[in-house]
């Protein structure tokens, strides 16, 4: 049975179109349709792409974490922690402040110093289960989280409960007799330094690959 559909040649010259030339397949109608669609696409992209970039920009925007004075060298014992308050986010009032537990580096507990940022130990109070504030309990010599029962030992390693890695730390240094607290870093169970991860993201074993470091917050280079 012959195909009864009216099949047109794809060449404009075969179809007898005025102004057609050899080998041309794009008719005026197709050209206009394509032009209109392209223009629409460009216009949409022109407002959509910048808006999306505007919304997801903070993912790629590195936050500089300033060094902050927390007190004179004499303030810090080496066998227990004292709480100090630092600012972790600007322009948000009390909400942007956080407690850091600090003590002097102790050779018996911490081993030899890694580098110049290790003279004072600054432990973040952010629980590594889901981010509640932990508290150092001197009687137990442990950090305890009120939310879901996470327990950390004296150096912040996980003792019990749901947390997936030890408590975060901050770099410290001494300037003009003042101890300063700097950027945050995360540690694994061997207390190796990593770029800061959020609570709930493991760093031991496969965890460090499942939860990659983010461009927005980094540890100091070469530490």
């Amino acid at each position: 049975m012959p195909d009864r559909r009216n099949i047109k040649s794809k060449y404009t010259s075969d179809r007898g179109m005025p102004g057609a030339f050899e080998g041309e397949t794009v008719t005026r109608r197709r050209f206009m349709t394509g032009t209109a669609h392209t223009a629409g696409g460009i216009v949409t992209a022109a407002f959509l792409l910048p808006s999306l970039g505007f919304a997801i920009g903070p993912i790629f925007d590195k936050i500089e974490q300033p060094w902050q004075d927390v007190g004179p060298v004499a303030d810090f014992p080496d066998d227990t922690y004292i709480p100090k308050t630092i600012q972790i986010a600007a322009a948000i009032g009390e909400v942007g402040k956080s407690t850091v537990y600090m003590r002097k580096h102790n050779l018996k507990i911490d081993g030899k110093m890694k580098d110049g940022y290790d003279g004072y130990i600054a432990i973040s109070t952010r629980c590594m289960h889901l981010g509640c504030p932990v508290r150092f309990t001197p009687a137990a010599q442990r950090f305890i989280c009120p939310c879901h029962g996470g327990v950390y030992d004296f150096v912040g390693r996980v003792d019990d409960g749901p947390p997936v890695r030890p408590l975060d730390r901050f770099y410290t240094r001494v300037r003009n007799g003042q101890v300063q607290v700097g950027p945050r870093f995360s540690v694994n169970q061997e207390l190796r330094r990593f770029s800061p991860r959020d609570p709930g993201q493991a760093l031991d074993g496969i965890g460090q690959y499942m939860y990659p470091a983010r461009p927005s917050i980094r540890k100091l280079p070469n530490t």
Partner: protein, 264 residues
């Protein structure tokens, strides 16, 4: 109820009244005018056909009160929309104290503020409960099967968006509970492998909970998700009207005439 009729085309005058016809009563004249307005609209939009198609559908035998859970969820959404819009007239998404202060003002000072805020707060829980009941009804009645699979998929997206609304709305009062619940919630998001950390950064607008986190949650809660919810509810309803509802599983099909003929 007077019958609707299309108005006569412009330019043609109404025929003169026959002598002896009584004067129309006032009520009749008024209702004639109202019908005229509806007719005017319908002639230009042809909405009555769509409305009839949507509202006067055949429903299967055995349709019962469980079939109202979807509408109940939609009315919860409408209530959330209305109360939410009016709450936005007083609320300030200001992280350095203004948000909490504006919520305190709504609760303590504004006329009926506590009531409207309470409707929005409790209504959110009601909506989540209803949407789950609606989902359970659909599941246990087998109403997700062919040809209604797409409507189930849309429903699941609506469920996720409703949970997003509940999550982002929880931060807005900006008290201790809001703050810590959001910290925990964002960190739960972050435990998703590979994309989790970036998703957390997107939600917080950075690596730490900051001043823009609140306005970000406010924009998601007020503009982004409600828009999507509205569009998808429209699609959900369109598919319900197009495909019809299912009979409950215990409903026996009516015996077919051929069977009866054979038996006879």
């Amino acid at each position: 109820m007077p019958k609707l009729k299309l108005p006569s085309p412009p330019g043609r005058k109404a025929p003169p009244k026959r002598p002896g016809t009584p004067e129309p009563k006032r009520l009749e004249v008024a209702s004639e005018k109202a019908v005229g307005v509806v007719d005017w609209l319908d002639e230009r939009t042809a909405l009555s056909g769509g409305a009839r198609w949507m509202m006067f559908r055949k429903v299967p035998k055995g349709t019962n009160w469980f079939y109202t859970l979807g509408s109940a969820t939609m009315f919860a959404f409408l209530s959330q929309t209305v109360t939410g819009i009016f709450l936005a007239m007083y609320y300030r998404p200001d992280a350095s104290g203004g948000a909490y202060e504006s919520m305190r003002y709504i609760n303590d000072e504004v006329f009926l503020g506590e009531f409207v805020r309470g409707m929005h707060k409790w209504g959110s829980s009601v909506m989540v409960v209803l949407i789950f009941l609606h989902m359970a009804r659909t599941f246990f009645f087998g109403a997700y099967k062919y040809p209604r699979e797409l409507n189930w998929v849309i429903g699941v997206v609506l469920l996720i968006l409703t949970m997003t609304m509940a999550f982002t709305g929880y931060l807005l009062p900006f008290d201790q509970r809001s703050y810590w619940a959001t910290v925990v919630g964002v960190n739960i998001n972050g435990t998703g492998p590979f994309v989790g950390p970036y998703l957390s950064d997107f939600l917080r607008a950075g690596p730490e909970f900051s001043a823009t986190t609140l306005s970000r949650f406010y924009a998601i809660h007020m503009l982004l998700v409600p828009g999507l919810l509205g569009v998808l509810i429209g699609a959900h309803l369109y598919l319900v009207a197009r495909l019809g509802t299912t009979a409950p599983p215990w409903q026996k099909p009516a015996p077919s005439t051929t069977d009866q003929d054979e038996r006879a």
